[in-house]
Amino acid sequence: MDAYEIDQIARLIAALPPAPVGWVTAAQELPQARRSLDILIERAAADAELKARLVADLESALAESGIAPTPRNLDVVRQRLRSV
């Protein structure tokens, strides 16, 4: 067996360490988070009071709806609220 090849394989395995578990979990939960946002925006479109609450204090309103008020989620909702 060629030691260099084995060494090369070992280096290439080492080149891809795992991303932190929390990052991976957050990315995997993205579709669910988006569905929750979709529902919230639909409700806001039909409920002026909810929309006003979202505009006034988006972070708290998201948290109350069980949606993590991450910068990304805040951006998405702000953008979509403009067209509601």
Binding site: M1, Y4, E5, I6, Q8, I9, A10, R11, L12, I13, A14, A15, L16, P17, P18, A19, P20, W23, V24, A26, A27, Q28, L30, P31, Q32, R34, T70, R72
Partner: protein, 184 residues
């Protein structure tokens, strides 16, 4: 093991498990491009990581060739990293000059492409081999830590690693994965 194209097709049809697989398959790759290719801090790398997967989720329905998902993700990651550096420059943040002009980015991405091919071979090994090679090389765990985690005698870890590497080499040779010398 599902191919990239099969995973992409399943994601498009709303298969939640396929999305989990896609994230699992490419999470290390995206992480490595931002940290090794662009030398981002963990904080910046995390933002890039989530931004890239957000873009993948939003744009996947428009991907023309399902089998080209890897180069597409690589490109998305590079663009996201560059956008982030530009944004930090505009905001006057202290930016590492070397990081602004990543050295040998093409080489780093080419090496990571090979590493991804090796990982595909790794995924075909029995669980015990995959686990031991990943823990030792990718997670940088000691023989003792691996032995404790897998309930194995510490004295057998080195020989197991050697046997599993041999097995992986055979798998790679059978699958014609092209290897080239790696610098460093």
């Amino acid at each position: 093991m599902l191919t990239d194209a099969e995973i992409v097709a399943a994601c498009r049809s709303g298969d939640a498990e396929a999305w989990n697989l896609l994230v699992e398959r490419f999470s290390r790759y995206i992480y490595a491009i931002s940290v090794q290719g662009f030398r981002f801090s963990l904080h910046d790398a995390e933002d890039v990581f989530q931004d890239v997967f957000t873009k993948v989720y939003e744009q996947l329905p428009r991907l023309r060739d399902d089998s080209a998902v890897r180069p597409w993700i690589a490109q998305l990651t590079r663009r996201t990293c560059i956008d982030r550096m530009r944004s930090q420059s505009r905001e006057g943040a202290s930016v590492d000059e070397e990081a602004v002009e990543p050295i040998d980015l093409e080489d780093v991405v080419a090496m990571l492409d090979e590493a991804l091919a090796i990982r595909a071979g790794l995924e075909t090994l029995p669980d015990n081999c995959r686990e031991i090679l990943d823990r030792f090389f990718a997670r940088d765990e000691s023989y003792r830590t691996i032995a404790d985690a897998l309930a194995l005698p510490a004295g057998t870890i080195a020989s197991r690693i050697s046997r599993c590497l041999d097995m992986l080499k055979s798998v790679l040779e059978d699958s014609d994965v092209p290897l080239r010398p790696v610098a460093g």
